[in-house]
Each structure stands twice: as C-alpha cells, then as structure tokens.
Amino acid sequence: MADRMAQRMGRPGRNTQNLLTRQPMTLPSFTLLAQSIVAGIFTGALYGLLGLGLSLSWGMLRQINLAHFALAFLGAYLTYQLASYGGVDPLLTLLMIVPVFFVLGVAMHWMLARFRATPFNSLLITFGLTIIIEAMLQWIWTADYRRLDSSYAEHKLRLGPLFLPLPELITLGLSVGISLVIWLALRRTDLGKAMRAAAEDAPIAAAFGINHQALALMLSGLSAALAGIAGVCIALGHTLAPSQIYSWIGVVFACVMLGGLGRPMGPLIAGCIIGVSEAVTMAVTAPSWAPLVSFSLLIAVLLARPGRA
C-alpha cells in the first residue's frame, strides 16, 4: 500500500510490517514528516505552558498543585464566555484573566500555608479543589461541549508545503516568550534570585532579609496566572468540556518531570520532545503507539537520571 501511495506521490516507498498491530509501518513523505514535527512542536508548546506553572509551584513551593489543570480550564471557559457573549477579543481576555487568576493563586497558597500542607497533602487538597471547580464548570456551562468561534481559527500561515495555524502559533509564541522571561527573571533579577534562594532554603534566605512568605504568595499567584494564560490558549484551539481537565494531567506531569522541577525552560523543552515524538510516531506507525513512546521516554530518563525530579 505504501509503495503504491509513494509511487503515486512520485517518490520511493518502503513497507515494513508492525507485528503487534498488523498496521503497515510507512516511511512518511517529507511533507508528512515535517508537518507532524510542526504539529508536535505546537502540541508541546501547550504542554509546556500548562506545565510551567505546575513546575514552578512544585519545584519552588513544594506544592503539587493538581488544581492547576482545573484553573486552566476555568480560564478557558471564561475566555469562551467573554469572547462568545461579551464580544471581547480572546487575546484581550488575558487583561482580565491574568490579574484575577493571580489573586486566586495567592488565595490558594495562603490557604495551603495556613494549614501547613505537606507536598502530599497539597496533592489531596488541590485534587479536591479540582473536583469542586469541575462541578462549578458543569453547573455554569453544563457538560456539553463548547467551542469558541474566533477569527483566529480561520487564519493560518503557509510555509512551502507546511501549514501553520494561527492559534497554535500564538500558543507557541506565548509559551516560548513567557518561559524565557521567567527563566531570565529568575536568573538575572534580584526578585528572581530571592525566589530561588527561598526555594533552596527558606530559613537561611529569611536570615538574609528575604520575605519568603510574600515571595511564595507571589509565586503561587504567578503559577495560577500562567494556568489562566494556558486556558486562553486551550480555548483558542480546543473544544471544551469540564471532564477534559483530567485528560491533560498524565502527559503534562511527564513534561514537568522530564523538564526538571522549578526550571522554567524545562517543561517547554520536554513538552516539545514529547509532542514531536508522539506526532512522529503517529506519522510513521499506529497512532495508538504514541502514548507508549512518551511515557517510555519518561521512564528511561528517570532511570538514567533518578534525581531529575
């Protein structure tokens, strides 16, 4: 089949047989391979954006914030609502969502700090919050699928044989830009250095006059704001349903673990590696193999570098 298809497309083809799935393993054309890599990078950018806030709160605040995914979907639904019924440009909703989510993040950290939640307890508490937010989303928007109809979805750039959809380009731009800014801020600014010091050893940092509690509140606010930004990107390119909160957890956790906790560029790079590996797997062999590839990658990295997380 692949030979015949390849001949039809004017290039040599070669078939092998995948014994487990009995689906032909096809050498993809350059266009298919390149488009799949591009799609993988776009997907990875969203993984990275979703993982960034999670990585920061886990690595620097020692909080495993499962509610991060629920907050992202809350942001997506708010974008849908404001854009669909309020006539607001989806990107302009960021002006409202970022500050509101910052406050939400601060409040969440205040609550967790108030009860001195350990990392494991923070996982349980934020799981509870996720359930509450999911129920709220379903109550307000029902469980039906919602899709944001925006002009962005109609635009795409063409680069030779490749297509670059605008919503995905926006997500990639935001993900790369924000990751870089946070990476630079943590390395080059006094505030960033103070945050890193507080994350490393809060009592010693306090001895040097760093208000680690205020910094923790700020960092938690930033993480929640990042969830809101990821939500805007989800709304731009995906159909929404409350239960979809959970479909992102596994792969984004893998990105965070692969990328290293508290490292701003880590989730983006890991997300792109996972996204591209999944996309290329789907282009070459059975798409159902894609999740195996990404999680095998995670296990291999953790075995090779056990101290990664």
Partner: protein
C-alpha cells in the same frame, strides 16, 4: 421465534395508543394509589454528563406525560433517578440500592455501554427485567431479561457498514478506495473492523487503516496520513469529539475529504462545524419528517426542544440518544400494559414474543442479545443541519445524498 399478527397488534395498541396521547388530549383520568417506582441511574456528572442530560430531559417529559395520561395500571409513576457519575462501579452500587433499599418496581437502564453492563449484572442477580437506552456492543448482552431500546441489530459490525456502503454504491460517485481510521474505544472499534471486512467484500481498496487510543489529543499526524492516502471514502470510528478533532486537524492542513463517515460523533458540535459539511453518520431518528409524521414523535420533538432550551443545552434537537431514551420508556409502558402487572419475568417473556411500536420504528427482541432489526439510517450534514438521506423512504423532504 414467530410472532403472530394478533399478538403484534395487541402490542401496537398497548404501546402505540398509550404513548400517542400526550398532554390532556386523551387523558385517562388521574392516577391514584401507591406510585409505581421506576429506578435507574444516568451520568449526570462526569464525562458522559452531556448525553446523560439528554436522557434526563427525555425521561422527565415521558413520565410527566405518562402521569397525565393516567400513569401505569391506574397508578402514578415515580422515576427514582440517581447519578452514576459516568462510572460503572458507581452504577453497580446504585442499582443495588435501587433494588434493595429504594425497592423500585421496575428498572430502566443507564446510558453508556460500561454502565449498562454494570446495571445488567445487578438486574440479573435479582432477576429483574431491565430496559436500557444505548448499549453499543450486542454480543456482551448475555442476560435474557435485558432489552435494548437502541436497535441496530445483533451484528452492527456487518449491518451498519453494509447500509453505508449500499448507499455509497448507489450514489453518483461510488467510491473505489477507502480509509478506515478508528478510535480503539470498544463500541466503535469492532464496527470499524467490520467495516474493513465489508469493504473488502465489496471490492473497495483499502488505502489506509489507522487506530488511535481513546483520549488522543493530537490528530494532526492522522490528518496528514489521510491527506496523503487521499481516499474516495473515509470510515471514521470516532466517538464524541474525536470526529470534530479530526475534521479540525484536516482543515488546518487544507484537506477537505471527499466523502466521510463518522460512527458515533457528538452530533451537536459536528453539525455546527463548517468543515463538517457533507459528513455522514448513522441515526435512528431525526427531528424532521417522516420521523415526525408520527404525532407522538412530533409532540416529543416540540417538548424536548422547549425543555432543552430552558436547560441551556446547545443542541435542542431530538436524535439517536433522545429517541432511544424515549423508546426505552415506551417499551416499559408497553410491557406493563400488556401483562397488566409488574412481574419481571412475565414482562420479559412478553417482550421476547411481541413487537413494540416506538418513535424509532417497530422493535422486536427475538434475536441474539434480544436485539432485532438494524434500524440505522444514514444522515448527512447539509448546510448546518443533520438530514437523513438513506434509505430514501426515510430521507428528509427534498434531501438527497451529496457525494463528490
């Protein structure tokens, strides 16, 4: 098993005459006495909740109208509804509760194959008859007192593709090549595998076969492979949103499939997507004539639209899910009316030997798994509407299959 004409007509009068009357038009007096409790669960929360709401609204409409018409056996009907959270294990526990604690008289099934299987196991343990809404894998229906309301025959993996390929063969552009791409979700996967076999028997050349895990998020590479194979016809085993996701991915690479079929798409989102124009799927009911020539169906469509609008549901039309749900209630009413009692075994025996007229058509329960005829028809998205196009006697007025 044979069914004589007299029995059939008795069933028709039991189900049809009772169900025909809506509102106060043919009110048979106010029901009195101890309510007859019909117990069931629905996925009111969790991933199946969108469809669960369709079944809830349908059940409320039916029970209200039933009570206005005099209830069952002159007694009012009370629907004891619980939320199974889209989880089979929760459904199992709740059906135990319904039987042992709530002591319901009759059972009506949940929605979704996994949850129905759980409920079926409990019903079997207590010898209860259960009528259920949309069960996707007939070969798993082993219990002889379970009755499916969604009729696509005992072998949908053969009959459903045959219906679709018959239609395409009779079209202006009969396909020569086919791509079968499918989710591995059980309800659609086995039918897609059947479609491969039927396509082969029909001489269609398979140029692509792909499977993905349910929950796949990235359809870009799958769309790319379809574009390269460029088949005349795509059979897509896509559950829920997957159909939209694939269409969206194909649009992003500027590929418009010529003829494309989706098994179990989310009908609301698909009909609203501009790129879905021409998409095909199967249905047992649509909100247009000749389905709505039946006054019971017409009244239900009207009432459902009003309630769905009030419930803020984005899709307010009646299609497969709502019609199967309505049919389940019609089956229960017919069995109780005909047997003049609430005996589970008597009802089951009567159902296996008789036919029931419902809004999706006349149902019989005398083949494997108590399934009967395959009542699937084919519908197509045309200018933002689902219109039935095959078989021709069920086509919407003026609608014809559009192929390219």
């Amino acid at each position: 098993m044979t069914i004589d004409r007299r029995t059939f007509l008795a069933a028709l009068s039991a189900a049809g005459a009772g169900a025909l009357a809506s509102g106060n038009a043919l009110a048979q007096g106010k029901p009195s006495g101890e309510p007859i409790k019909v117990g069931g669960t629905l996925a009111l929360t969790g991933p199946f909740a969108a469809t669960g709401l369709v079944h809830k609204v349908t059940g409320e409409i039916y029970v209200e109208n039933l009570n206005k018409r005099g209830g069952l056996l002159g007694r009012p009907v009370e629907w004891v509804l619980k939320d199974d959270q889209s989880k089979p294990d929760v459904a199992r526990t709740l059906y135990e509760q319904l039987i042992t604690s709530d002591k319901v008289d009759l059972l009506i099934g949940p929605y979704a194959t996994g949850n129905i299987l759980s409920a079926m196991g409990v019903a079997q343990r207590y010898g209860k008859t259960i009528v259920h809404h949309t069960f996707g894998i007939p070969k798993l229906a082993k219990y002889d007192q379970q009755f499916p309301a969604w009729h696509f025959g005992p072998n949908p993996e053969r009959t459903t593709p045959a219906t679709v390929f018959d239609m395409m063969a009779a079209s202006a552009n009969p396909p020569k090549t086919i791509a079968v791409v499918t989710s591995k979700f059980p309800s659609v996967h086995f039918v897609s595998l059947g479609a491969r076999q039927v396509a082969k028997q029909r001489g269609l050349q398979e140029v692509l076969f792909l499977e993905w895990d349910f929950g796949n998020r990235d359809f870009g590479p799958i769309a790319g492979r379809i574009k390269e194979a460029d088949p005349d016809f795509i059979w897509t085993g896509a559950l829920g949103l997957e159909g939209n996701q694939l269409l969206d991915a194909m649009k992003k690479i500027d590929y418009q499939p010529r003829n494309h079929f989706y098994h179990f798409p989310a009908p609301g989102p698909m009909v609203k997507a501009p790129e879905a124009n021409g998409a095909l799927s199967v249905t047992i009911f649509e909100s247009h004539p000749p389905f709505t020539d039946d006054p019971v169906a017409a009244e239900f469509v009207k009432e459902f639209r009003a309630r769905a609008t009030k419930a803020n549901m984005p899709d307010t039309s009646v299609d497969t899910q709502a019609a199967a749900s309505f049919s389940a209630w019609q089956i229960i009413e017919a069995a109780v009316t005909a047997t003049k009692g609430l005996d589970d075994k008597a009802m089951a025996e009567w159902l296996r030997g008789n036919k029931v007229k419902t809004i999706q058509g006349v149902l019989r329960f005398n083949e494997a798994g108590n399934f009967g005829d395959d009542l699937n028809r084919v519908k197509q998205v045309q200018d933002g509407k689902w219109l039935t196009v095959w078989p021709k006697e069920w086509a919407a007025p003026g609608a014809t299959l559009k192929t390219s």
